[in-house]
């Protein structure tokens, strides 16, 4: 019975709690409200991106372009605002941009049938290139002030809760509702579980995949806005960092199998908590950036190995050339 209840989600939650308690006792300043606030804030962005990545992975895809879309769209938007464009119009422009990126991703994956991981890897390069070449020539864009509710997204508080956390909660709630109650959401599970069966059953597989990547891009924009407003600026070089693997780590560690069709938003939240605590703890322990990177990536590799062992590839539905 105990074994039955110990699924990956619970193990991860338990680990997170143990780690939290352990760090609180051993690490000076971990339990400090200021630190916890920054932990929660950093984690929120990771969590928002994680929700997007979860959408992709549940549908047996993956989106590596998310970390290019996020800074480029947000930085372009800030650029437009700094050039005097009204916020709503800049937001609309950024929205149009990310929707376009999502459509291109989706069409490449659904209609041209390029493997998702490949299409989004290349799209990440292309989006970053477009950003550097035309939209945001400089690395960092800063907010030049101005009084608007918009700038409070990253820094404000509602009832004492930091707004990034509220945004994360909102995105997670919407995604949960979408996956749980809307037809396209259910379809994504079906497609992820067995794309061929989904197609034979009559699900609009291809349009659903396009929709999926549009949603992911929009979520990336939301994450970008939160990041930009929280840090009063955004650096497009994030696209070149390994942060996208942190996002995958959150999702896979949370228990969403890479073979698709399994897991939900709860797994993302659990995974986010664990990674947040881990990252924060490592920072406080004063581990160097490179050592942190090694640790994170080794944990990610271990997580994927465990995932492969727990959710082996389904030879019936795995397609030839699935790499």
């Amino acid at each position: 019975m105990v074994v039955d209840k110990l699924n990956q989600e619970r193990i991860v939650l338990l680990t997170a709690i143990v780690l939290f308690v352990f760090f609180s006792i051993t690490l000076n300043g971990f339990i400090d409200p200021g630190n916890l606030l920054s932990l929660v804030q950093n984690v929120s962005i990771l969590g928002i991106l994680g929700v997007g990545m979860a959408l992709a992975i549940i549908g047996r895809g993956i989106d590596l372009s998310i970390l290019s879309t996020m800074p480029v769209s947000a930085a372009w938007m800030l650029n437009l605002i700094n050039d005097g464009m009204p916020i709503w119009l800049a937001l609309a422009c950024a929205l149009a941009f990310v929707v376009l990126v999502g459509i291109v991703n989706g069409v490449l994956i659904a209609y041209v049938e390029v493997p998702a991981i490949f299409a989004t890897l290349a799209m990440g390069i292309v989006v970053y290139g477009i950003g550097k070449a035309w939209l945001v020539p400089i690395d960092s864009v800063y907010i030049r002030g101005g009084e608007s509710w918009f700038y409070a997204i990253g820094t404000g508080r509602i009832l004492g809760v930091p707004t990034p956390v509220i945004v994360f909660a909102g995105v997670a709630l919407l995604a949960w509702l979408f996956l749980r109650y809307l037809k396209p959401g259910r379809f994504i599970y079906g497609i992820g579980d067995n794309p061929l069966a989904a197609r034979i059953t009559g699900m609009p597989v291809r349009p659903m995949i396009v929709l999926q990547y549009i949603l992911i891009s929009i979520i990336a924009l939301v994450a970008g806005i939160v990041t930009a407003t929280a840090l009063s600026g955004i650096n497009t070089r994030v696209a070149l960092s390994t942060m996208v693997y942190d996002v995958i780590l959150v999702v896979v560690l949370g228990g969403i199998g890479l073979s698709g069709g399994k897991g939900g938003i709860r797994n993302v939240i659990v995974g986010t908590l664990l990674i947040g605590i881990l990252l924060n703890g490592m920072t406080i322990m004063n581990l160097s950036y490179t050592v942190q990177n090694i640790l994170k990536s080794v944990i990610l590799l271990a997580a994927i190995v465990v995932d492969t062992l727990l959710n082996p590839r389904d030879e019936q539905t795995a397609q030839h050339g699935d790499i």
Binding site: I62, L108, V112, E113, V114, P115, I117, F118, A119, L121, A122, M123, G124, I125, V126, Y128, G129, I130, G131, K132, A133, P137, T242, Y245, I248, L258, S288, Y289, T290, V291, N293, I294, S297, V298, L300, L301, I304, V305, T308, L309, P312, R313, H320, G321, D322, I323
Partner: protein
């Protein structure tokens, strides 16, 4: 003849449409795309960039190209086995650092240092290989994660050893040669790269390991079932890739002696782009070293030129990413739709006009008037045979016939009730003939010409002929050897129905109405085969005439029988003796009264005759209509005709309704009986010929009475 008809005739005679399909069916067509791309890139940049083809620029490019070559050979192996290796970027940086540390700083001898660095690369590859090969993890994600792990290790290594490395210097001449040396203007790295590529090509195409790699990439499950160690093979490709990356890194280290944080960054995407652009398919099984080399040179030229054109790093990564996407999109669509494109273009009909169909109605007075004389013939081996295309008898009156299972079956005289498998050859044994010594010769569809001695030893006589100069399809291989006969001097003349279709597709050849077949002569003197009569419309039956100097052959889709002298004063002359048959002639054999029997395997219909004059209609049909709905010649009813040496029709035997013998492909007279074979039939028919010589046998007629 109407003007439009003339025009159509000339247009289809002189425009070689069929070449398009044949070119598309070639394996090297995949390589054509990158070659065209390369030509485009070269033209564009030599116009845009002055000095693009200058010596100094080329030397720069050649040095880097050597390093790229070494790496991409490894990647090719990985991708051919169905994997992908993104770790190369970090492995490269790691091995570069290691090489500087080991060779530059510690001044280890190159003969030890380079293998040591390669082993380090191989170790990283081994981790990949174990995870992907043995644990069955996804190659893309695993190597991506390994990429960041190794990159993190490199960053840490740079923090620890960055300063030490910079101050090192190895004075060895070999090290210097690796850096700046060249032979006849070819840099050292390119020489090594060329050697690696050559060895890689030989291993991939000629050696066991390479074949295993291709088999695993082509179909993992089949490779496993065939007994290939799939896991080990996959693992080995990653190790190989890691080691080669290590080798390339030593050249880089020798050349630049620098260990920055950006060494090898993005190399994995560059290499991936190069491989895919060259035409190495994601998912494995398709590709070659040459394609990888092409892809690498294209990517290198584009990269190099974009930098020289002064594009920002963003724009050049945009261009590379876009090329990558485009290449993958083309690759994915091409691999998926290649067979569809081929199916649409391969069948290439031409114009062919037959004279008006002769009357066959009962009581019409026509030579071919219907009768029911084959009704109620005796059946031999009913339900036990599957596709006896031809029937023949030996001196003991035993009956031999082929079968779809690749056997030659022998029925024992005199009642032909008992049978045994005489020999198993494979393919589908079709036409048969006995020679002077009592050896049985058979044309085996899909295999070639075979001789079976009385003691059942099977000898392959011919499975290829001379390659014609301008043929795009490889016409040296025999696809569908059909019928044969033996000249008095032992030469075997045999027909090959078509060079454009395989055995299972032979009827599609009817839609083309082009002379795709030929007659080949096998000469026992030097055991050689040569095409003697090319471009025939499905040549089928062959019968050497008693004079020993000429033969008669039937062209099935041409509906005619032709005499051709292969010897004697008329050597080389060809004359049509019967044209405008009411059906499609198949095998021809001698009759006891000096005349000839011919089987018509199917009857012409006005609709198909009309369609033959409308090539564009048939092309449209092939492209728009499902294969099962195509208009084919009628093969559901046939007959037997008897004709004399001048081509006069003497007799005709019909089976109305086609109950016992719908499609007759061969006839053989033996001791007063006529035996009927059918390639799709389940029996051999036996018809008593009135007034025939009851002692006449074909063997005696050909070779005289044997004692």
């Amino acid at each position: 003849m109407a003007a439009s008809d003339t025009w159509t005739r000339w247009r289809y005679r002189y425009v070689p449409d069929h070449i398009i399909g044949e070119v598309l069916a070639k394996n090297w067509i995949d390589t054509l795309i990158p070659v065209v791309f390369l030509a485009g890139v070269l033209t564009f940049f030599s116009i845009e960039l002055p000095g693009f083809l200058s010596g100094s620029n080329l030397t720069d490019i050649a040095q880097i190209y050597g390093e790229y070559l070494i790496i991409i050979v490894g990647i090719t192996f990985v991708m051919m086995a169905g994997g992908i290796d993104l770790t190369v970027g970090s492995t490269f940086a790691f091995c570069n650092l290691a090489a500087l540390l080991v060779i530059n700083t510690m001044e280890v001898n190159l003969a030890l240092g380079i293998p040591a660095v390669m082993l380090m690369g191989g170790a990283i590859g081994l981790v990949n290989g174990l995870l992907i090969g043995y644990l069955g993890m996804r190659a893309f994600l695993t190597t991506l994660v390994m990429l960041i792990i190794v990159r993190a290790l490199v960053d840490q290594g740079l923090l620890d050893y960055g300063q030490t490395v910079m101050s090192g210097f190895n004075p060895s001449a070999a090290w210097e040669f690796m850096a700046i040396g060249h032979v006849y203007g070819i840099p050292a790295s390119l020489i090594v790269g060329g050697v690696v590529a050559l060895v890689g090509h030989i291993v991939l195409t000629r050696m066991r390991f390479g074949w295993h790699v291709m088999a695993v990439g082509g179909s993992r499950r089949s490779a496993y079932n065939a007994g290939i160690h799939v896991k080990r093979t996959v693992c080995a490709t990653y190790v190989l890739s890691g080691m080669l990356t290590g080798l390339a890194a030593t050249f880089y280290a020798a050349r630049l002696s620098s260990a920055g944080t950006d060494v090898g960054k993005g190399l994995e995407v560059t290499m991936l782009t190069a491989a895919v652009l060259g035409g190495i398919s994601l998912g494995g099984g398709r590709g070659s070293i040459v394609k990888a080399m092409l892809g690498a040179i294209i990517v290198l030229l584009v990269q190099n030129s974009l930098i020289r054109m002064g594009l920002s790093s963003g724009a050049s990564s945009l261009v590379l990413g876009a090329i990558l996407l485009l290449a993958v999109a083309i690759d994915v669509r091409w691999v998926k739709n290649r067979h569809k494109v081929l199916a649409r273009t391969y069948v290439s009909p031409t114009y062919f006009k037959l004279p008006p169909l002769p009357d066959t109605a009962e009581g019409s007075g026509s030579d071919y008037a219907l009768n029911d004389r084959l009704r109620g013939v005796e059946a031999i081996g009913l339900g036990e045979l599957d596709g006896p295309e031809d029937v023949i008898f030996d001196d003991e009156d035993d009956l031999y016939c082929g079968g779809r299972h690749g056997d030659i079956i022998r029925f024992s005289a005199p009642d032909y009730a008992r049978w045994e498998v005489f020999v198993h050859i494979g393919g589908h044994p079709l036409g048969m003939a006995f020679d002077r010594e009592g050896n049985l010769y058979s044309c085996v569809g899909g295999m070639g010409l075979f001789r079976i001695a009385p003691d059942r030893t099977v000898t392959k006589l011919s499975d290829e002929t001379n390659r014609s100069l301008l043929s795009v399809v490889d016409d040296s291989r025999l696809r569908l050897a059909d019928d044969l006969d033996i000249a008095p001097d032992g030469r075997v003349f045999f027909s090959e129905a078509t060079i454009r279709y395989e055995m299972y597709d032979w009827m599609v050849d009817a839609l083309e109405a082009r002379g795709n077949g030929r007659i080949i002569c096998w000469d026992p003197k030097d055991n050689s085969s040569r095409t003697v009569l090319p471009s025939l419309q499905l040549p089928n039956g062959i019968c050497v005439e008693p004079n020993g100097q000429s033969l008669l052959f039937a062209e099935t889709w041409g509906c005619r029988i032709t005499r051709w002298w292969f010897d004697g004063p008329n050597k080389g002359r060809k004359e049509v003796i019967i044209d405008n048959l009411p059906g499609y002639p198949d095998n021809i054999n001698r009759a006891s009264d000096g005349n000839f029997w011919c089987a018509l395997c199917g009857m012409r219909s006005p609709v198909f005759d009309l369609a033959l004059t409308m090539p564009s209609f048939r092309r449209r049909m092939v492209q728009k209509v499902a294969r099962d709905e195509w208009l084919y010649p009628n093969m559901n009813t046939g007959c037997v005709i008897k004709f004399d040496a001048d081509g006069n029709i003497l007799d005709v035997l019909w089976d109305l309704g086609g109950e016992a013998h719908p499609m007759i492909t061969s006839i053989r007279e033996h001791k007063g009986w006529l035996y009927l074979g059918g390639i799709y039939n389940n029996r051999i028919g036996r018809y008593r010929i009135p007034d025939a010589d009851p002692q006449w046998t074909s063997n005696a007629d050909y070779w005289g009475k044997r004692s």
